[in-house]
Subunit: 355 residues, 2 copies
């Protein structure tokens, strides 16, 4: 079964196609390639698994490919430059299409290069990790990390299509699967209590890679994200609730030097901290921690220290006019952005988490 959602953004609208067996001849991706040329951007882990299948879906097009080193540590301007170099070497023109085949890192880099090459060319997302399928491939946020802060260099640039073949999850490591579930849990926590409850009932099936459960979780996550993005493409307001747990999470990643903890792991601990800061009922925060724990994800940061985390947060994108902004929960299933948080409580949360 194939499901198609649409991200409604006027002339920048695009489909998210979700299904099994889409790669390798069952979907005419060539139709979404504007010109004659495309460059597939993948990484050393994913390319050997799915590059040939993807090529088969691009019949009649001139296809080049590049495999980047794997991992968040390589999400740098230097790696983006290597992709730009490949485009220049191939004399790629304005009609060229980049195709990101891989996880969030590959998608973010390829999207950013597409945003910058000749002031913007088309790109397509073919996410192969759960995290990329439910989060980073949708919504047009692209970018690379600066040594001092995550995603500090980037652009809003929407893809032409997001093609999600759920079969690619069969090769995903257990750790990566769990990291993706962190974002899935996030959608329930910030925007949909019914989905949160469904996750409580199906978390074991998801961990066991039950195909039906995964397909539903991906579809629901993409739906919730699409609605939020359609309302606020460039994050002038409400879209920022998608950053629930991310202010703390990014600080963890920054202090760890990107790569030690996966993004999904960092935001898991971050969501627990953000829930504590929210001052919601113990019952609600308990349910969130419990679900995260059952997903095999951390509910506490590694040993960093409250001071270092606070310092690292000083550079987060959600800092505005020198006053930090946080995404907090009104209750489970309902989030808001606020700069009006309790500073003492923030200190307590940081100290308790780092105790």
């Amino acid at each position: 079964m194939t499901t198609t959602l649409t991200v409604e953004l006027g002339e920048r609208s695009y489909p998210i196609v979700i299904g099994s067996g889409l790669l390798g001849g069952n979907f005419d991706l060539a139709e979404y390639v504007v010109g004659e040329d495309c460059l597939i951007v993948s990484n050393e882990t994913v390319a050997p698994l799915y590059l040939d299948a993807l090529r088969a879906d691009l019949d009649g097009k001139q296809v080049e490919s590049i495999a980047l080193p794997d991992g968040e540590a390589h999400k740098t301007l230097a790696t983006a430059e290597s992709v730009l170099d490949a485009l220049v070497r191939g004399r790629a023109n304005r009609d060229t299409t980049l195709i990101a085949l891989g996880g969030g890192v590959v998608g973010d880099i390829a999207g950013f290069v597409a945003a910058c090459y000749m002031r913007g060319v088309s790109y397509i997302q073919v996410p192969t990790s759960l995290l990329a399928q439910v989060d980073s491939s949708v919504g047009g946020k692209t970018g690379v990390n600066h040594p001092n802060g995550k995603n500090l260099i980037g652009a809003f640039h929407q893809p032409r299509i997001v093609l999600i073949d759920t079969d690619t999850l069969s090769t995903l490591s257990e750790r990566e699967l769990k990291a993706g579930l962190a974002e899935v849990i996030k959608y329930g926590a910030i925007a949909n209590m019914e989905f949160f409850s469904w996750l409580e009932g199906n978390i074991d099936a998801l961990l066991a890679k039950d195909a039906m459960a995964l397909a539903y979780a991906i579809q629901k996550s993409c739906e919730l994200k699409s609605e939020i993005v359609a309302d606020d493409e460039r994050e002038a307001g409400r879209r920022a609730i998608l950053n629930f747990g991310h202010t703390f999470g990014h600080a963890i990643e920054l202090c760890q030097g990107y790569g030690d903890w996966l993004h999904g792991e960092a935001i898991s601990a971050g969501m627990v901290m953000a829930a504590e800061l929210s001052g919601i009922s113990n019952a609600d925060s308990g349910r969130l921690s419990k679900l995260i724990e059952r997903a095999g994800l951390p509910i506490k940061p590694p040993a960093i220290g409250a001071k270092s985390m606070l310092d690292a947060m000083g550079l987060d994108k959600k800092v505005m006019a020198k006053r930090m902004r946080f995404v907090v929960l009104n209750k489970l299933g309902d989030a808001r952005i606020t700069a009006d948080y309790d500073a003492d409580r923030l200190a307590t949360v940081l100290e308790a988490a780092n105790a």
Copy 2:
């Protein structure tokens, strides 16, 4: 006298303010700074001349500054990265405003960094060269060069305001002044015969830095460019006529290794070649060459060779679907974009120019 034009781009509309004595306390630029912080991006030549005056216009704001090395050779991703580093060091947030004080290189880099930092912050153009005042500061094209091609890395990102103090031209070298006049002549040639005739009558006054003549030429150029940009912000069609002479010109710059010839010099020779390719009357092409020559600008490329130029053009942004596109003249004052040019004539033009 101060003139204000508006670039009409819906919610991205912005004013171009043109006048004498604007810097140094006569214009409230602080009003256009969104947040509390700004970073002035200038270069080592311009900063000593106008940085203090610009600071005086930003009363009440937190102002940092950075001086880049001067020249097109430094319009690189590495230089852009040094500006990004300065923003990160200063813990600049999403409300920060970049202010470009200088010529086209400074404006293009600062605009590109503004487009990429945290996926886009505000910026202001304070162009101090004639070329930047009549061309690069208006229209939102930003970017840096790749070693193998000009402006291959960039973004469309509109400024909040363009502030043109015509007094800054007093410190502009004669060579830079002439290079700016190349773009002024271009506007007449592609879009307005009346203005072209006016230039024929006033070129000597412009070369003598007559204040009234310069102010009129700047205003008229900005008007013509604004209209074209308002119709086609992202260069899907007609905006490309602004690239008249640029396909040849970029090839000259690329073969010369950026910096030997100024941009305005390269496009001067490029415009003469493009006029030859157009097949317009000898009278029209003669008038164009004559005006360019009277402006003290080259009407022939340096000794590169036809083959090298053709090769270099293969990477130009105006190459689409592997068929080159050229901006040609229907007649003087009227241009069009075409892929349907006479290939033999192109060869003849290249050989004649490189003979």
